[in-house]
Each structure stands twice: as C-alpha cells, then as structure tokens.
Symmetry: C2
Subunit: 136 residues, 2 copies
C-alpha cells in the first residue's frame, strides 16, 4: 500500500562532545551543547545564504534507534501507560528522523556551528531548513 522504500543519503555529520546516547539530553532545554554540522563538500552550495543568527531545523537520522519499536512507555517511565510512538518523541520508531531547533552561531566553509544540538557525535545530518518566516 505504501509503495517503495526511498533512499536517503546523509548530507553531512554531527561533530559533538556528546558521544553516548544515554548521556544525550532528550530535549535541548535539558543542556545540549554547542556542536558542528559538517556538510559534505558536494552539498556546499546549498549552504549559501545561511548566516549566524539564523534559526534552523536540523533533520538527523538517529542511526542507533530501534526501528521495530511501535509502542513505548513515554520518556522511559514504566509507571506511564504504553503509548504508540507516533504519539511520543521516542527516538525508537519506524523512521527515526530527529528534528532539532537550533541557532546558527557561525558558518565556516562546509562547517556550521550551532547552539543546543541534542544529537550525538557522528549522527548523520539529512537536511537543514530555516524556521518559517514570512519571506523565505
């Protein structure tokens, strides 16, 4: 019914001091560090116009997630009833795409410095999009 699979090639990787999923904050207001997005040279032109101060959504591929999980206890709290992953932000889900709202601190060639990224080192980056404003 849903048709064929699609193939996604990461456009870059996260470079971060976070190296362990268990240490990664679940949300950026829980203490995520600054990090770098290192974009592959072949996608460099796609960064044109991105500047310090921009608010962007970074899409990542949560490559350590369990894609067979359909139901979880929200936030791992066993006292809470099992809930379908589409009603939670669990990283474990059929297509574990992470959404991260970050501020751009600097763009240096293919490297984008960002504030408050709750993704671990090496996480594949799929896309960057500006947070919506009226004119972009």
């Amino acid at each position: 019914m849903t048709g064929g699979a699609v193939e996604i090639s990461p456009v870059g990787r996260v470079e971060s001091s976070l190296v362990d999923r268990s240490a990664a904050p679940r949300q950026p207001d829980e203490g995520a560090p600054e990090a770098w997005l290192v974009i592959d040279e072949r996608y460099l032109a796609a960064l044109d116009g991105l500047t310090a101060g921009d608010q962007v959504v970074v899409l990542t591929w949560l490559d350590r997630a369990d894609r067979d999980t359909l139901v979880v206890h929200p936030r791992g709290d066993l006292t809470r009833p099992p809930t379908g992953v589409f009603a939670t932000r669990s990283p474990d889900r059929p297509n574990p795409i992470g959404l991260h709202d970050v501020e751009v601190l600097a763009v240096v060639g293919p490297r984008v410095h960002v504030r408050h990224l709750e993704a671990i080192d090496g996480t594949p980056v799929l896309d960057l999009k500006p947070v919506l404003t009226a004119d972009r």
Copy 2:
C-alpha cells in the same frame, strides 16, 4: 565522508483533494485543506494514544521534488538572489522531507484526519511526532 545511504519505508500516504504540485499552497496558512493520513496496518499500534486535538508534526517524502537542486530563487521569485536550499524551504533539495504542523481532527482505525496539510494526494508519510510539550 557522510557514510552510507539509509533506506526509509513510508508508514502511510496522504489522501487529499490537492492533486497538483502547482496548486499546493507553500505554507498551511495559504489555504491548505483538511486531509487524511492513511497509515499502513503494520504500523497501527504506533498510533495508540494519538487523539483529536493533538498538535503533530507530519514528516512526508516530497516525491516529486528535484533532488539535484542546491540553489534556488526564494519562493520562485527571480528578482531575489539565488540562495542555497538549506537557507530556504524549497521542496527541491537533496533530501526532500516535508514538515507539516497540523491538528488532529480524528483518528479512525489506521486513518488520521488532520487540518491544514499542504501535501498533495499520494504523498508518502514518513513519521508523525507530537509537537513538544513538557511531558511527552
């Protein structure tokens, strides 16, 4: 550098009266209609707990996008300077994943009725996530 491609299987499809990309509004406040997300039966359990009134982000695969486009005139306006797609919301980009903030109107078995979805009929659905609140 960025490692291997990842394979994503859509979890469902959009059912909408929008059938033509040129007629699709670029943003939901430009008149997107109500639509249905028809989730594949094998992912039905992942909908548990999703209810009318929930605000969710729907991730779609914009399967008619041009994945070779790296630079565009924002909003197709030729008077505006060419800009890298990572600094725009152009659907044409290396990994054309759509993000759609919608309100759930009803969940009926594997079918999720939503308000203001600016995706055309047949668009593959990759994921649903609740808009962030403190407890999910």
